[in-house]
Amino acid sequence: MDASATSDEALMGRYAAGDASAFDALYGRHELPLWRYILRHCGNRATAEELMQEVWFAVAREAAKFRADARFTSWLYTMARNRVIDRHRNAHSHMSLDGVAGGSETPLMEILADEGSPSPLQAAEQAEQGQSILAALHRLPREQREAFVLQADSGLTVEQIASITGTSFETAKSRLRYARDRLKELLREHA
């Protein structure tokens, strides 16, 4: 069976029935988006690794509890969000973009340059833009930052964002709009 054509919910059902390969497919789809979400809200890589593991362990162990009519991404990110919030409450940590890039303290400019940018100038510009937007993201209110990251990094719909954050559709949409407008403004200021 082609896992790429199978929905997240179907894969989850297969995994709950004992098909370990279905989990591999699910993990492959959602590893990086979830990782970014957790990383953006943890502030440091070590904590993000721990939370990443906690979330996926929970997925594996509670697969049998997953309702077939539920959205897998909503379920996944709700668990991740709850753990992030709990970690914040316990550690009183704050989000920081310092030392996040590549896990090796490598400046964003160098990373973008290694990605094969067309020209050094473009790479530099992109790196500078990226640095700016990441810094701007950090200055957003938490709810707007969360909504933006869920959409931009994880590709979730407004409805899903509303479900995960426990808000209404309109509230989630408003937060997204405000976040995007603020980032635009900050980018213009940077430019």
Partner: protein, 274 residues
């Protein structure tokens, strides 16, 4: 994969995604490996419930069969194992009614076979003279022969002021010993009645006045030889004991409870000597 909203990706989002892809990287290999390993382990634990319960039931059934087999094996071994013969020591059952029709007096030289049969319960009253237990008659010939072998031991037992019991009699009396150590119940009532009658006959013959007395004395005694010839006899007063009887040779007294013609009970002490 679930599709996002159908909105054009604006510049902000694209810039951010580019920066995020480059900057966030990915989880460490160890984290990824741990996650996938846990997922496989959880999947194994979540093997279809039917198979799991099937295996569980199979395991339970196997244990039950094994348990039954062990029980059967133990039961079989228990049956095969030779059991020790436990000789219960029970007091002889005495014939309560000795007032049967007197039968011919038994000869002193009774056969050993009869002695064995009647020796099951020669537990004579070792109690004080006032003991009312009836005692089965002892095979006299057998006891007589064995008494010769341990006269000294019998003498010690005769020290007791109480009436000597068969159990305290000479160890030489194998019949008495068997009665003492044998756990078998008393001889048949018929044998007891026979023995009791013999003593009754003896009492009637040697002590006719006692036999006919309405109130007989408590104890009468006689000493006879192995041939049954009466050597000495007498009536034991309340103040006397068998041990105090004058000129009594060493030996063991056989004391039996017999009834007179009037139905009164008294003790007849008999000693056989060479």
């Amino acid at each position: 994969m679930n599709t996002p909203d159908d909105e054009p990706v604006d510049e902000v989002t694209s810039v951010y995604r580019r920066a995020s892809d480059a900057e966030a990287g990915s989880p460490a290999f160890a984290t990824r490996a741990a996650i996938l390993a846990e997922a496989r382990a959880a999947a194994l634990r979540r093997t279809p419930a039917a198979n799991h319960s099937l295996y569980a039931w199979r395991a339970v059934a196997g244990i039950a069969v094994l348990g039954v087999a062990v029980l059967l094996w133990r039961q079989t071994n228990r049956n095969v194992t030779p059991e020790l013969t436990v000789e219960t020591r029970t007091p002889p059952v005495l014939e309560p009614d000795l007032a049967a029709t007197p039968e011919p007096v038994a000869e002193a030289g009774r056969s050993a076979a009869q002695a064995d049969r009647t020796a099951e319960a020669p537990q004579l009253a070792a109690a004080p003279p006032q003991a009312s237990a009836d005692v089965a008659a002892v095979a006299e010939s057998t006891a007589k022969v064995e008494r010769e072998e341990s006269k000294s031991a019998a003498r010690e037992r005769d020290e007791s002021p109480a009436v000597a019991s068969v159990s305290a009699a000479a160890p030489a009396e194998s019949a008495l010993q068997r009665a003492r150590s044998d756990a078998a119940p008393a001889v048949a009532a018929g044998a007891l009645r026979q023995a009791a009658t013999d003593y009754q006959g003896l009492l009637q013959r040697e002590f006719p006045e006692v036999w006919n007395a309405g109130t007989p004395p408590r104890t009468v005694w006689l000493v006879m030889d192995v041939g049954g010839r009466i050597l000495r006899k007498g009536v034991l007063s309340d103040a006397d004991t068998l041990a105090s009887v004058a000129n009594q040779p060493s030996g063991a007294w056989t004391v039996v409870q017999v009834k007179t013609a009037s139905g009164s009970s008294l003790q007849l002490a008999v000693m056989q000597v060479d």
